[in-house]
């Protein structure tokens, strides 16, 4: 671990004011993005972003200041700003922040990495992408194709005036393949799970996620969709692959369970929630097959960590067990405001944003059903893979999602490939129609780099692991009829 963080921390300790609570979060993120599109290397970009977030709680108010000026004068200015905002808001805050019990732990966390990003030369990584790009172009109807890798190394040190010292270093890999086929006005794109196969780790992630085997399958499927019939309309069963389950969990369980939404913080932007505080402990969110966990402890998953950005120790918790709602997604501030248990999920995008309640890893625990048995039990339905369209109301209830690829299930067998599969429903009832949950054979560890929320806006990494699942009596439909 490099020393500049400690030097900045020491600089800060020298000027730390006498206030109720004060913290410094130092974040450095180094990133590299490589992409080969149509066999041509795209502009290579590197990032090296370093800055700090100062938080002050004083007289019950809370203020923050983010700055990339890491000189002592810069840190001093940031402290002054944060203290000024704390004072200014002391008499008109949503809560008395001095009553929030922040922890002051000392610990370290580092992503386990088998093949470090730097261990493979730039030339070899480009050659790898060239190879995968070429493998995507299998047909003259393929009009666009791209293979890419995005690596980020984050290094965070958080200290407080209570002697907290938390160092967390994480390595993130986002592998991506995309292939687009066209005939006339018919265009279809297949991707490597959107960017869903993002993981923590090193380049071993490519083996773990099947990156090397995906290209021929994706290009075949893109071309196949050009001549596929439209997805039928009607009420039927749907079997959702993990790379659609990911989105379903994210939008209609993750966001509604965020305590800051329930508190109303997001009502002007990301929205509110149909979940009310009195529903925790009693509300039947889904069928008894539904088990949802907040799990920051899977080392390979995208949003794993040992402490959240408010310094709270993170551990696995059941949010929904056997379909019953138990606990929400809220950090120490939201827990204090609501008087409800939560999890360690107060997180910030990077140094220039304050912490808010985020999802981190939100997983649907595997069940008992083999994939073949789930297909076999469906008389009429559609198997849908890979999300490509998502929309849900501001209370996180009425949703409509679309997938890249669909296949009919008729009399227990996968049959005709169909294009433009869409379905819609209402969160509050949809999960009660969860009829089967796949076992570990269909279970996949996925996530997304792009979950947006907050004012000021923040986009953050989240993880979602899930097996394939069956939902009964769902409203399904296809594309525009001429």
């Amino acid at each position: 671990m490099e020393q500049p963080h400690e030097q900045i921390a020491e600089r800060f300790r020298r000027i730390m004011p006498s206030v109720g609570f004060c913290s410094l979060r130092i974040v450095r993120e180094r990133s590299e993005s490589l992409a080969v599109r149509q066999d041509v290397l795209q502009p290579v970009s590197n990032g090296d972003d370093l800055g700090v977030m100062v938080t002050v709680i004083h007289q019950g108010g809370c203020g923050y200041a983010g700055t990339s000026d890491l000189t002592e004068a810069g840190l001093r200015r940031a402290l002054e700003h944060a203290r000024e905002w704390a004072q200014r808001s002391a008499a008109c805050s949503v809560t008395d922040f001095s009553q929030v019990g922040f922890a002051h732990p000392q610990d370290e966390y580092e992503t386990p990495v088998a093949i470090a990003w730097e261990a493979v030369s730039l030339a070899d990584k480009i050659a790898l992408l060239q190879q995968e790009s070429a493998r995507l172009k299998t047909d003259e109807r393929i009009v666009d194709w791209e293979a890419s890798l995005w690596h980020t190394q984050s290094d965070t040190l958080s200290i407080t005036n209570g002697d907290a010292h938390i160092r967390q270093c994480c390595s993130y890999i986002v592998p991506m393949l995309s292939v687009t086929a066209n005939a006339g006005t018919e265009t279809h794109t297949r991707t490597f799970g959107g960017r869903g196969y993002c993981r923590q780790g090193g380049l071993e992630v490519l083996d773990q996620t099947g990156f090397y085997e995906a290209a021929p399958r994706l290009s075949t499927e893109a071309v196949q969709l050009l001549s596929a019939p439209d997805c039928p309309a009607g009420r039927m069963d749907v079997l959702l692959a993990p790379d659609q389950m990911m989105l379903q969990i994210h939008e209609s369980i993750g966001h509604p369970l965020e305590l800051d939404r329930i508190l109303g913080d997001e009502r002007n932007y990301a929205g509110t929630s149909f979940v009310r505080p009195d529903m925790f402990g009693t509300y039947q969110y889904g069928s008894e097959l539904l088990n949802i966990t907040f799990d920051p402890s899977r080392p390979e998953q995208y949003a794993s960590y040992q402490f959240d950005d408010d310094g709270q120790p993170a551990q696995k918790e059941y949010l929904i067990r056997n379909g019953r709602l138990l606990r929400g997604l809220g950090g120490v501030v939201s827990q204090a405001r609501l008087g409800l248990p939560g999890v360690a999920n107060a997180r910030a995008t990077t140094w220039n944003r304050p912490t808010i309640d985020r999802m981190a890893n939100l997983n649907l625990e595997p069940g008992q059903s083999a994939f073949s048995s789930m297909v076999g039990a469906i008389e009429r339905g559609v198997y849908m893979k890979t999300n490509c369209s998502w929309s849900i109301d501001d209370s996180r209830n009425k949703f409509q999602f679309g997938c890249e690829w669909g296949q009919l299930i008729e009399d227990g067998k996968l049959t005709t490939v169909v294009k433009k599969p869409n379905y819609r429903g209402v969160s509050a009832t949809f999960w009660r129609n969860l009829a089967r949950v796949g076992n570990l054979d269909s279970y996949e560890v996925l996530g997304t780099p792009f979950c947006g929320k907050g004012e000021p806006n923040q986009v953050i990494r989240v993880g979602h692991a899930a097996p394939a699942c069956v939902f009964s009596d769902v409203e399904v439909f296809g594309g525009e009829q001429e």
């Binding site: 590197n46 923050y64 990339s68 944060a82 509110t272 109301d393 679309g402």
Partner: protein, 441 residues
């Protein structure tokens, strides 16, 4: 700040050797952010951020990187030097880029926005808190300077700075029933703000009536400019760029491939001259004052980045690499506000749409939700607030066969988005009266 950036750029350019060329892009902001909930402050703070992006070019090879800046020249110049060395070390491993295109004609420019924001940073915050008294206010205030610069080794220098504020807030009645309002600009005017507060308050009163739930079906609707902006935002996701058109991924593929048209009253332009975004882009090209995207219902020009220009053999029009409009404008129509409800007659008055996405991209069919103040109207009079409904409708119907009218008045809206940094996007949009708008859930 401008001088500091130019000094850093000169430092980098001074360390180039042989045939090396460099492009430098600078971005900075000093922002106050205050978040409100239940008429109190949820989070308040300040962000000061500066970053420098450097692209090193030798022939057709190039590599780029960006670093954050602390403001101390000794530290920043060393970090810039390290970045330059790293890019130099990478270049031999990179193949020649057939689509590399940078500005070679020197087109320097300067735009210095005047800082007319209140000196007392709490003034607007206090006004918002005051407006929240006796009401349930939730919202967000952002204000401060935004700066951008470009410099290259050919001697081109561009500078842009602006100072804006934005108050984006909602008055909540109960549940999801709320009125959303925005007040943004360059100079705070308490009277304008108070007028907007009063107007929102009046709409809030209308929301207090028992809410109506309607069944899915086709309805005559009025989309206010803020709702239209959501449609434009989605259309802007791949709808106007050359790359998406050439790779057949544009949602307007039926216009480009089959000559499909929108209503002849529909004209869309990227109006850089009237916007607040910089008029130069990261490769050093200047943007024209206007690019016509749709003219009288017909697809017109694309936004063309330098890279697409080289790839597809056309001229660039200074679009950024993502080829999206930043200052979109829709031509006004003839519907006047005072006759709007009469014209709507019986139907739905929609102030805001929310969370749009394509449900069939090739057909430009969009889905999304109504949000905030949406009203059921009968015989030209507001009857009741409407519970949220999902729509699923094609652009070719919304802005084509089913378009009844476009308002004469247009709203100028500054983009309140703050992902990574405060946006300099803007739009000038009218309201739309549409028949047979499809609601599905």
């Amino acid at each position: 700040m401008q001088e500091y950036f130019y000094q850093l750029a000169d430092f980098i350019i001074g360390h180039l050797t042989g045939e090396e060329q460099a492009l430098c892009n600078f971005a900075a902001e000093d922002s106050d952010f205050v978040r409100f909930n239940h008429s109190a402050i949820r989070q308040a703070g300040t962000v000061a951020q500066r970053s420098l992006a450097v692209e090193l070019v030798v022939g057709q090879r190039h590599a780029a990187g960006d670093i954050s800046l602390c403001g101390d020249f000794g530290v920043d110049s060393q970090r810039a030097r390290s970045l330059l060395d790293r890019l130099r070390a990478e270049l031999p491993y990179l193949p020649e880029d057939p689509y590399l295109l940078h500005a070679t004609e020197v087109q320097s420019s300067e735009h210095h926005g005047e800082n007319r924001l209140p000196e007392e940073r709490g003034m607007i915050v206090d006004a918002v808190l005051q407006a929240g008294q006796g009401r349930d206010l939730v919202g967000f205030y952002a204000a401060g300077g935004i700066h951008a610069g470009f410099a290259n080794s050919s001697g081109q220098r561009n500078w842009f700075s602006t100072y804006t504020y934005s108050v984006d807030w909602s008055f909540y009645l109960s549940g999801d029933k709320a009125v959303k309002t925005a007040d943004a600009g360059f100079m705070w005017n308490p009277h304008v703000f108070e007028h907007k507060v009063d107007t929102a308050d009046q709409q809030l009163a209308a929301l207090s009536r028992p809410a109506k739930t309607i069944t899915p079906g086709r309805y005559r609707v009025y989309l206010a400019p803020s709702a239209v902006s959501e449609i434009m935002e989605l259309l802007n996701w791949g709808g106007f760029g050359l790359k998406e058109q050439q790779t057949k991924q544009t949602p307007l593929i039926r216009m480009t491939q089959e000559g499909a048209e929108l209503h002849p009253a529909v004209t869309l332009i990227e109006n850089t001259r009237a916007g607040v975004a910089p008029n130069f882009q990261e490769d050093g090209f200047r943007k024209p004052d206007q690019v016509r995207l749709i003219t009288h219902g017909r697809r017109a020009d694309c936004l063309v980045s330098p890279r697409s220009a080289k790839e597809y053999g056309v001229a660039t029009n200074g679009a950024s690499s993502w080829e999206a409009a930043e200052s979109i404008e829709m031509a006004a129509g003839e519907l006047t506000q005072d006759k709007l409800l009469t014209q709507l007659d019986t139907g739905i008055y929609i102030n805001n749409l929310w969370y749009l996405n394509y449900s069939d991209r090739a057909a430009c069919r969009m889905t999304g939700m109504t949000r905030f103040a949406t009203f059921w109207v009968e015989n030209g009079e507001i009857q009741a607030p409407l519970n949220v409904m999902r729509f699923d409708e094609s652009l070719y119907r919304m802005l084509g066969t089913n378009l009844v009218g476009i308002t004469a008045e247009r709203d100028y809206m500054l983009d309140p988005n703050t992902y990574h940094a405060r946006s300099t996007g803007s739009s000038r949009l009218p309201g739309l009266l549409i028949d047979d708008f499809t609601l599905t859930l």
